[in-house]
Symmetry: C2
Amino acid sequence: MSLDTQLTRRLGLRVPILSAPMAGVAGGALAAAVSRAGGLGLIGGGYGDREWLVREIDIAADAGVGVGFITWALARDPDLLTIALERRPRAIFLSFGDFGPYASRAADAGVPLIAQVQTVAGAKAAVSGGAEIIVAQGTEAGGHGGERGTMALVPAVVDAVGDVPVVAAGGIADGRGLAAALMLGAAGVLCGTAFYATRESLAHDNAKGTALRASGDHTVRNRIFDLVRGYDWPEPWMIRTLENRFYRRWVCDPEGLRRDLRRQRQAYLDAQASGDVDTAPVIVGEAIDLVHQVQRAAAVVSRIAKSAEACFNSVRVNSVQAPG
Amino acid sequence: MSLDTQLTRRLGLRVPILSAPMAGVAGGALAAAVSRAGGLGLIGGGYGDREWLVREIDIAADAGVGVGFITWALARDPDLLTIALERRPRAIFLSFGDFGPYASRAADAGVPLIAQVQTVAGAKAAVSGGAEIIVAQGTEAGGHGGERGTMALVPAVVDAVGDVPVVAAGGIADGRGLAAALMLGAAGVLCGTAFYATRESLAHDNAKGTALRASGDHTVRNRIFDLVRGYDWPEPWMIRTLENRFYRRWVCDPEGLRRDLRRQRQAYLDAQASGDVDTAPVIVGEAIDLVHQVQRAAAVVSRIAKSAEACFNSVRVNSVQAPG
């Protein structure tokens, strides 16, 4: 295996690939499959459903997974971090908010803290706050994120944080993306979209099928779906989803949605349960163009790693030719 | 030189680096310097100032530059294309609009047509329309552009256009970006921000200085500066600039700006002439974090190429280690 990096050495991985802690999608089965395949699978702690979290950590058993939290949601129930740390995760992953209050608890437990940021300033603050690994998340990412693109954010963060390993996220779903990220100075990648449409993902089958047929041209960063769900996301972060009928209906009329919120929320919850993707969104990023089939998560890890090695081999072999 | 690609072979370049046809910034001196350094320099045809265009093409003389146009602006004075073609440019570059009416004229003149797109659908349409080279421009780019990020757009466009060479743009200002772009399947890169702060750039010295001190965290895609200039940009494209006092004053009050347009436009024009960057914006992209000094354009070309080669060499040397 030729993908040995600062990240694989730090976390004891065979490949520098992390699966994103997607809320409601990345449960114990997905995270465990990624970790068993040599990467680091992250369970999505999401909005703080304690029962769900305990169950999914138990499902992952001894696979060596990490647990990810939405930091501002964790603040409402900080005991969730205790629950996670007691189960000896391979890492704790925090994004979207001030993780200051939690860094020392992870450090005391001897668990590496991975902090995801969306800006260069955020990366500097995260390192000052005690993060041991930085995920630089570009706006291409599905789910919540910021505005900066991966291509320029990653090298700028690498330059800003010194020796701290940087993981690239956003827009990466195949080996070309992993090879590119390593060229940018990253020590690995975190992928969400690539794992959304796996067998182990908890996304509805209709959502996985819709994702496979979609183009990154049709994802949108928006606030509509947080509004209908009643999730109080702080200003800088919006969710990226595929656009759908619900989005088109309300994107220019959030006040109308607010006025009809009770009825629309029930419709949304029903749609989510039944897999009605015209109302409940498919939460994937711009890399969805690069995902063509529902595979097992282990096959996705292997596909990304092997293809990245092939990209590097093309450089090694063609001593006078770039691969392009 | 180990950066031989489909693009360098097609255009007869020594390095797969194009300089963006930045309106009012990329004149004949900048474009000529890039072409003489082995890349392809593009003069920015901008909004149709005929006298300026002829003068700048003359300045570039026999350096082998190309000429870029804003397609919807070219439509108002299509003779500009004739003027450019008569001077035997190395290539014609078209972006932002339907280039259908111009493709055959470039083909008849035997001049390669480079089309810049911002979506996968746009890339497919451009190839159908006769483009010989596609620039996939991610949202990180300074100046006008779309919403998709470079990291996922480039491989998706590569997959969509078959054998047509794809050039990556947006967020690339150093050798890491070039190496990454080639890993994504691109055959080269187009850089704007990296050349904005060169000696040959026509940007005001104050703007160059401000650019060097800026972070990509503080660029914004907006419509405010097109509104004040009276440029009638079509819906999908907005300009990315550094945020400044004028932006902050008007971004949430475009109606107020419209009401005071005559006075504000004069203030804008005065600021542009005097280099007052609080009012006239510095038009750079998210890659500005990676630009640290005002160099000659030839030095920028050389820096990017050499650093990309070093990235590739690190892969060749470390047969069991990725560079990250």
